[in-house]
Symmetry: C2
Subunit: 405 residues, 2 copies
């Protein structure tokens, strides 16, 4: 896997996991200050690491050099103690790396409401700093997992200005996955999905933020496992410029090429998250086509992806298109039910809002596959939107009815 | 059980059920024309019986005398054929009862998208008309069930103007239960919950509609089993005046007394629906207190009640208040997380947005009960709202992953 220049990684065990053991703390370091685009959860309850990172980015004017991440404890709903714990971690990492505290960003995932013992992290940091190495990115992608069954990591290399630039991404999250990420504006809204993207490209700040947000709208903000948006969702996109290209700016030829690679990495990771969703046995791409507007298409795709009845029908490989149509009707947007066609892969199961003549056994067979495409054709315009969801299985219930106890 | 005067009921088997057998068609008849308040689903996809009932009420200026109900087939997404089928049922009942077709209302529940064979209903209607009897209300409450495990029926008798008046209610629905009922205005939105309420009180039309809507906002519109609003949700409140009281109007002393009895019947039925929710083993009342506004309290209570993570924690009897707080943050309304206290029955599990000092085993024990009260105290004002939800269990998945196949 191609790695971007100038990034070093380390992971270790701080004993923060309540279930099992293994690495649960990670440090990521860019040898030079990097421009950072950050997106945080839309949940109004925001974890301490989200609040502290937001503050640090403001103070550092969008420049940072390190990320401290932990799994096992979300450091959310932990009051002032949680804020102090988060700041202590940043401060210790800053001392060891000889950078300013606000150049350190934070992210946490795990149980909500349990005080974080910061020393489990700060005591480990010296060892992590010694271990920093480009190849340890795989160890980091492992250390940040919670109920995930496998790490998610992706990389793309393209050529810009004759320079090879690489985008590396890693992400975690199998439950409480319904990211609705927004920029850290004063009115910012706040998921636990964590996604970290690193590039050695030089990218102008404003375009970096725009690219991060747009890429997120086509990937992480278009997936759901359970419809519960976490208090800790965080996306960091770091660009350290180590590739030596001319900075990518909007409306330059390099911009769409950089953006395309970024979307590819983000979509690959987002899809991996859904595939590994808690209890998930299959993934469905919901594609709403021929909509009047992006907003209409997206609202309908989202409503289908979130419907427990669609998700359980998916689990049962039941071509129950009536549930799909009913979910469309709950999207909160106007449309003509009589103009709706629905396809399961290539089989049209609903024509003009009523039953199409189709082979039920064949549709059932298509739905038994691990990846399914559900197309809803509105016949109202030319816009389309995609959303990815997984089936809702007994395992999801089992995992979540006994998460802590 | 006390019965309102002037209502006759009958049930029979039309062979509409795809699973099992038993009565699936019901006829309800008021000996005299009754004022009707109707509320239909907010789903934008509306079943034929909803559309036809809406039309009939408009034509009959809110007066009707009969209801034909069937289970086994929702007559939704059935196109023009479905509309004709619905009208045929009304027409046949009207002929037999010697009333106008628009005095017959319709309601259906069952699978979506399967053409309804109207003759299975119309052929049965003559026998139903012959069987009409006040005591057959119990048979009707049975015939309208789908995945329900038991009928839901409730009755209250009060004295108004020296006259005894009775309100009888019946309801069905165990899945696709997240009613958001609205009046049949042109912009009406459209669940499959069916609720029928009958009173022998004389009630002025305008107040009847207002009372129905307000009672619904404290009962059926405040429950969820799975968060999926059906295409067929229907509430009919019929008032035939057979008790001979002076018509109940707004701002008369009789109004609050009538309303209180109506709310009691509606709440008892709504709570029964949640208790019998698909796979449900327990019920939680979510009570948000000390809110700034009704809207804030209601949005937060709703968000908690709909969260799969709260509902699975409930199934596991896990006092995971962090999930409750996180759900509050997803309600789309502003509040101060630092001012939130959360109680499970009488145990305070969260104080000022962080962990309270509580006995985990005791909280776990409280949650193991069949009925639990979750109180979220916002400390922002004086308003409160209640919402009822059930736990999310493996049985829910089993039932819905194999509903048709």
């Amino acid at each position: 896997m191609a790695l971007p220049r100038g990034y070093l990684f380390a992971a270790g065990e701080g004993g923060l996991r309540t279930h099992g053991s293994g690495p649960d703390v990670a440090l990521i370091y860019s040898a030079v200050p990097a421009r950072v685009a950050a997106l945080f959860t839309a949940n109004r309850v925001k974890a301490a690491p989200v609040l502290v990172s937001r503050d640090h980015l403001r103070r550092g004017r969008g420049i940072a050099q390190a990320i401290v991440v932990n799994a096992g404890n979300a450091n959310c709903a932990t009051g002032e103690h949680g804020m102090r714990a988060a700041r202590m971690c940043a401060k210790r990492a800053a001392e060891l790396l000889q950078i300013a505290p606000h150049q350190v960003l934070l992210a946490s995932t795990g149980v909500i409401g349990v005080p974080l013992d910061a020393r489990r992290i700060t005591d480990l940091l010296p060892a992590l700093v010694r271990r920093l190495h480009p190849e340890c990115c795989a160890a980091v992608s492992q250390a940040i997992l919670t109920t995930d069954t496998r790490p998610k990591i992706a990389s793309r290399t393209i050529s810009l200005d004759g320079q090879r630039i690489t985008i590396l991404g890693m992400a975690k999250g199998a439950g409480m996955i319904y990211p609705r990420l927004a920029p850290p504006a004063p009115a910012a809204r706040s998921a636990t999905m964590l996604a970290f993207l690193f590039t050695d490209a030089a990218v102008e700040s404003r375009y970096l933020r725009k690219a991060a947000q747009r890429a997120c709208e086509r990937s992480f903000n278009r997936i759901s496992v359970d419809g519960d948006t976490s208090t800790n969702d965080t996306l960091f996109l770091m660009a350290n410029g180590a590739a030596g290209n001319a900075p990518v700016r909007e409306k330059t030829p390099a911009a769409p090429r950089f953006f395309e690679a970024l979307v590819e990495v983000a979509q690959q990771l987002a899809l991996e998250l859904v595939r590994d969703g808690e209890g998930a046995k299959k993934v469905a791409e919901i594609r709403v086509e021929r909509a009047r507007s992006e907003q209409q298409a997206e609202a309908i795709a989202r409503a289908i992806a979130l419907s427990p009845l669609v998700k359980t029908a998916l689990a049962g490989a039941d071509p129950n298109w009536g549930r799909i149509l009913s979910a469309c009707g709950n999207a909160g947007v106007a449309f003509d039910p009589g103009g709706v066609d629905i396809y399961i892969n290539r089989i049209r199961v609903c024509k003009n809002g009523a039953a199409a003549n189709f082979d039920e056994a064949a549709a059932n067979q298509q739905l038994a596959a691990k990846e399914v495409l559900i197309r809803v054709v509105l016949s109202q315009g030319k816009t389309e939107a995609r959303f990815w969801t997984c089936d809702f299985t007994e395992d999801y219930i089992r995992i979540n009815a006994s998460y802590r106890t």
